[in-house]
Structures are given as structure tokens and as C-alpha cells.
């Protein structure tokens, strides 16, 4: 388990996304309307679509390739499709806006 300083809250737009690579893993960061910042592996379990390019609706992202829906808190693919995406813990320091990712 490593904790990384990955940037600042302002780096990610609301309902937007940024991606980053840690070792061999590409991770997609999302900032929800609620203010939460969530991180999942940047790969849809269906066809490997880049989730960072998808549309964020509430706490779910829609994969741009075939519209699979993934709940960003849990990484669970939503019915009627099934599957799971790895999630990563993100901490926001609200005093400084710093973002920390644990991997």
C-alpha cells in the first residue's frame, strides 16, 4: 500500500475526469457533483473501454464504447450487465485541495 500525492482538486473538473498511470495500471479519477473524488481502474470490463472518456451521471460513469454503467464508489457494473472494476481510495485535503491516492 503506497500513498501518493497526485495533484489538486482543481485538476479535475466537476463531472469530469483525468487519468494517470501508476506502474502498469492506468487509473481514472472522477470528481462528482457532490464534491467527492473517486478513482477506478481505467478499463471497462466489457471491451476495455476507457472509462475516463465516459459521461458521469451521479456517481456512475457510462463507458463510451457500449454504454455499460459503473458505480464509482464500489466499481460494480450495473444491471443488466455484470462485472467489477477495481476501485482505489482517494483522500481530499480540503484545506489545501491536495489529492492523495492509495494504491
Amino acid at each position: 500500500m503506497t500513498k501518493l500525492l497526485i495533484g489538486n482538486l482543481n485538476d479535475v473538473d466537476i463531472k469530469g475526469s483525468r487519468k494517470l498511470r501508476v506502474g502498469d495500471t492506468e487509473i481514472a479519477l472522477f470528481r462528482l457533483s457532490s464534491g467527492e473524488v473517486l478513482a477506478v481502474e481505467n478499463r471497462c470490463p466489457h471491451k476495455g473501454g476507457l472509462l475516463s472518456e465516459g459521461m458521469v451521471c451521479g456517481s456512475k460513469v457510462h463507458c463510451p464504447l457500449h454504454d455499460w454503467r459503473i458505480e464509482l464508489h464500489t466499481g460494480e457494473v450495473q444491471a443488466p450487465d455484470t462485472g467489477h472494476v477495481t476501485t482505489y481510495e482517494v483522500e481530499v485535503d480540503h484545506a489545501t485541495g491536495s489529492l492523495y491516492l492509495t494504491i
Binding site: T2, K3, L4, L5, I6, G7, D11, D13, I14, K15, G16, S17, R18, K19, L20, R21, V22, L29, S33, P45, H46, K47, G49, L50, E53, G54, M55, V56, C57, G58, S59, H62, P64, L65, D67, A79, P80, T82, G83, H84, Y100, L101
Partner: protein, 809 residues
Amino acid sequence: MTVKRKKLIVVGNGMAGVRAIEHLLKLAPEAYEITIIGAEPYPNYNRIMLSSVLAGGASLDEIIINDLEWYRSFNITLYTGHTVTSIDTAARTVYTDKGVTAVYDELILATGSNPFMLPIPGTEKEGVIAFRDIKDTQIMQDVSQKYSKALVIGGGLLGLEAARGLLHLGMDVSVVHIHEYIMERQLDEAASRMLRGELEAQGMKFLLKKQSEAILGKKRVKGLLFADGEMAEADLIVMAVGIKPNVMLARSSGIEVNRGIVVNDYMETSLPGIYAVGECAEHRGIAYGLVAPLYEQGAVLAKRLAGAPTEGYAGSVTSTKLKVSGVDVFSAGQYNEQPGTKALRFQDETEGIYKKLVIQEDKLIGAVLFGDTNDGAQLFSMIKKGENIKGREKELLLGLEADALASPKGNRLEGMPDDEIICGCNGVTKGTIAEAITAGGCTSVGQIKACTKASASCGGCKPLVEGLLQLYAGEAAVTVKEGICGCTTLGRDEIVAEIKRMKLTTVKEVMHVLSWNTEEGCPKCRPSLNYYLGMLWPEEYVDENESRYTNERYHANIQKDGTYSVVPRIYGGVTSPAELIKIAEVAVKYDVPLVKFTGGQRLDLLGVKKEDLPKMWEELDMPSGHAYGKTLRTVKTCVGSTFCRFGTQDALGMGIRLEKAFERLNAPGKVKLAVSGCPRNCAEATIKDFGVVAIDGGWELHVGGNGGVHVRATDLLCVVKTDDEVLEWASAFLQYYREQAGWNERTAQWIERVGLDSIKQALESPEERAALVERIQKTLSLTTDPWKQIVNTPELRKNFEAISLPETV
């Protein structure tokens, strides 16, 4: 875990065996420790969709039914690429060719069938294959890249689907058939002839009444010799003459085998603890080769293994559909007249429709439908029920009343058993659909589709799904209104009217005030609302980038591997050597893997990394070609009077003027224009949203054309004399379309919906036109080039870059 789980092994990892396991896991998830052994190197895939893969309608990934994750999630041990070589029935142990030994308490044989290869010389040559699995499909795709001539032996369902796929792959295809007419096991002669006519029109050739004698060639196939001494050349021969149950393993294990593995009504074989299901099984003398019976058998077997009550399997009445040829054909039951039967026929050669019903003792026992198969599912259900149709024969022949399904008289669906398959493509039973309606609260076909996948593939079962909806949801189904998406029950017109009436100004506000049932909408309604708000309030509304599709958000087309493409704006398709050099230099510098021309006469730089996009745009220093958006794409042109001998007008000048006038315009759908300099119409203006064709002393203006999914030729809107009038009418037409059409509705669909006359009427008066022109100009005056804007705005530009290497805390 107090109870020790029994060990269940399935030999065969195909549709029938895995289907039975899916059922079993629902009924008794804790009862068994399951192992599945399959010879193919894939998880369970949908074999019936291979035809669609070949015909380009689906990718291999898309036909996987259960991915590896599914097996893992149910703790199923899966061996792919393993063939079971023997079963020691006394020791209850199976052995595979790769040295795996596994012990079972219960064993399911789901070994499927093998393609039947004609016993003629030469079948071992390279380029002779069957059409059965993913491997065969891949071989066909590879061969089509290198060779041109294909022969398909067998003019049945499978052969025609293979032939259709090979045609799609660009091969020259002939179907060799031993009988006088094709699909004789599913169709009567009249329907067969009509089908052949349709397929010939698509480019398929037929060699009928031909018996294959020998395959010619040295190492690779060269041709096929027939019994009559004639010969046909071939680089590829696909054998599609039939299948035979794969019974080798059962036979060598001492299990009773006839044509297939003999089973009783509970799918039990002659040895205790061993079952057979699917194409390898023979039930009451029949081995089925279609999907619905296999699913029905799987359901019975699952109940048996779970210890749930079942009346057993009583056999299936089967129906046939030809899926991939673009020709609608359906047959069911006994469709050829026998003594004691009567037939009703309807044949309309102008429309290419043929229907036949076969009736015995006032019961419908068979049907053939050609060209219009909408009633297929309903007729099939009546055949299976064996209900009395006295007095309704003509009504059935000429088309059923839509609500006859739910009428108390025709309560076919009510009496249908719960485990009967409604949707053959996805194996959805009546019970599953009924539950989705009653317990799951589905009130529309769309919701049922989302919840169960019924009617999600070919759509042939939609009438039955609708019937079930009426049956189980009653009033709720009748009054349900399909909204623009699942998040609302409101339609486009209601939403636009409410936005205007209450002066709603943001997507969030619309959702809130109009009681959306989701928190932040979905990829259907978000872009729609974003468009409507921008169209209604061009000056006040701030476009919501996050409510646009990926392509529009990043102003580039996303490709299958996550890279993007760049199409710069080249007005009217007229460029210069200097501009081409610049584009080439940028392509070289950024190592662009593919440069091609688009269908709209523009240059496309493909395979660009997202982080390179802003840099390339900056160096190109050209406006965005908007090849990715619901906006003006390109204005296609011919050379016109500038160089052409026949050109009557300056098509290039007109094209450039139109493209400069309307670039960056947000529209409900993509908008394509074309200008031809004479009636020869080399720019193909009559399949564009707005097409301009020069005539001597003026221009014809054509609207509502489409060359895409559903080809539609334009309607003539009017003829004008001057260039300025072309601009005026184009502006008025496009603005009227922007204000009236639904988001994602192309002009072709819109015209089909509202009618040309209503559009002509709206644009008739000069005052109306002037008002529309003024509104579109206002909208256009507020647009800027997105590429420049991103290049010069760090806040936007950051979204194209990955976050740089993080540091450890």
C-alpha cells in the same frame, strides 16, 4: 458449510450445458460444486450469432454469453481447450486429453454436434471448412482477404447464412445445392423461389440440383467436381450440409446411443447420474439443432438436478428464421400440405410478400411467411398451443389485430408454460419476462429489454413481449408513455414546451422541475437537454461540455483503442499544395499511423493520442472539421463550372460559401450538404440533409436525404434563381429543423415523421423565412472554433493530458 456439495461435471462449454447451469444456480446455488470442461479455447459464446459476426453485425467479443468473470463469480472450475477422452462410469471419473482427472456425482453431457462433412475425396485440403465455430468464422475472414471465389455446399439455413457472410466479406459466392430449390426443409417451393430471387439480387449465385463428387486441388482447394461432370472453381469451400450429434464419448462409455444420446423426458441417459442436453441428445427420436429446444431442455434438467418439481420435457415445435440476409423469412410447424390438410395462401409479388397457413381440423399446424414476418411469433405460439382457429383463418392470413394477443379469446400467452422461450436470441423465458413486469415493475418494452435482454438482439419476439406486457401490466402498460429515455416519461415536445413556459435555463433545473427519476440523467437525456437549451436560449445558455458525448467533449472521434482522429476543415474540399504540405508535416511529426480521405471528401489523421490533439491542432492552424459532432460535417462538391465541361454553375464557390456559413452550427443530428454543378449530380446531393443541384439559370434545393443506415432520397423543396436565395432557404430550412426535430433525429427521419408538406408550409412566407434566418444567424454569430479555444485555454487543455507521475508521500 454444513452440507457437503455434490460434484457436478459438465462436458461441453456451449450454449445448452451452460444454460442448464445458469438455471441450476438460480434454483439451487449451494447444491453443487461445478466443473465445466470445453474443447474450444473460449468461454461460453452465442453460436447462433456467428452468422451476424460474419455479416459484420457483431464482433466476437459481443457474442460472449458468459465471460470468465461469470465462471469465477460462481466458483465454477473451467477447463477450456480440454477434450474429455473417456469416462469411467464405474469410478465416476472423467479424463481429458491434457491429463486432468475429475470425479463426479452427477455428469451432464453437452457435447453438441459436429458439422457433417460429405464423404467425398479432398475434404482434407486447405481451404475446406465447415461453419460451426469461432475458428471457422476467423478462417473465412482471413481467406476473404487473400482469395475471391467461395463455394458453399448446402442451401439450407446454415449454408445461406455462411454465403451471406462471405458476400459481406467481398467474396464471389456460389451456393451448391442438391435439391431443386433452397431451404426445402423450412420453406415451400413458392417461398423458396422468392428467397432465391432476393438473394440473387444481392449477388449470391446458385448451382442447383448439383451433387458434389470430389474436391480438386493439390495442397489447397482449386475447385469442385460435380457428378454430372461439370466443375466450379473455388478458393474456399464451406460445407454446410448438416450437423450430426457428437456421440463418440457417450458411445465409448457404454451409454445408449441412437442418432444422438438417448434421453427420457428428464434428460436422463441410460446410465444413472449421467444426463445429456442440447444438440447431442436425442429425445423421442429427435435431435434438435435449434436454440429454443435446447434452452427448454436445459430448464428441465436444471429442475431435475435441483430437486424441483417438473413435468419433464415433451419435445418442441420449432420455427425457423433467416437472420442475416436482410430478407425476412419465417416458417414453423408442418408447412407442406399433406392429405387431410388445407392451405390458405396470400402472394403479392409487387411487394414481395408471401404467406401460407396450413390448417388441419380447424387447427393451425404450420405457417410460412416471406417478406413480412411480423406475425411469425404469434402464429408460432398458436401452432404450439394447437388452438381452434375456426372462423379466423383469413384474419390470421392477412394480419392479426395487434390487441388480439391480449384479448380473452386469444389468451395464448396466458396458457403458455413459464419456461417457454420467448426470446430465442437471448434465451429469455415467459416466466422471466412475467416476473420483470409483476415483481420488477417494468411497464414498457424498453424497460423489459433493459432488465431481461428480451427483444434486445433481432427484435423478432417484440410482438410477444408486447403481448405479455399487456397481459401482466394491463392498464399500466396501456397508459405508459415512452419518454425520451428511461429517466423521464416526458416526450421531446413536452420538454421543449415546459422549458419555454417556465424559462428553465440549466440541465439540472430541467431535471429538477420536471421530476426526472434519476439523479443526473443519462447519456441520452443529458445531451438532448443540453441541445434544447442551447437552441432555445442561444445567448444566455452556457453549453455544458460534460453533457456531451466523448467525441464532442474532446472535439475528435474516439476510436476503438482509445486513440482519436483529427479532421481539419477544408472548405468545399478545395485545398492547396501549401496546405497539404503542412498537414503532411504534422502527420509525420506526430507519427500518425493512418491518413485517409473521409466519405465527405476531407482528410482524416487517425490513431492520434489524446495528449497530442491540442499540439496538432495548434500546428495545423486550421479550423475543426467537426467530423465528430451533431453539427455541419462537410459540404461535398463537384468541380462545377470552374473546370468541368458540363458545369452550369460554380459548385465550388457555392459549397465554400455554405460551409463557411454553417460551420460550428449545433443541430439535432449531423448535417451533411452537397452541391452539384449540373443535373448529373456528381456530388450526390440527393442523399444529403440539404442538397443543392445546379440547373441552367438556377438551383434545385433538395432536403431530407440520407445515404447511411436507411437510404432515403431527398424531396425537392423548391427551385431558386440566385445564390443568395440558396443561402436564405438553406438557413431557414436548417433553423426550422433545429427548432422542430428531436435530438438525434436526422432530417430524413424528421421529414418521414412530419411530412414534406408541413415543412414547405412553414417556409412558405418570406416573413417566416426571414425570422428563421435571423435566428440562425444570431446562433451562428455566437460560435467560435473549438480547437483554437482549447489550444488557448489552459483550463480546457489540461483535460487532454494525463496527470504527471505522482510522488510518494
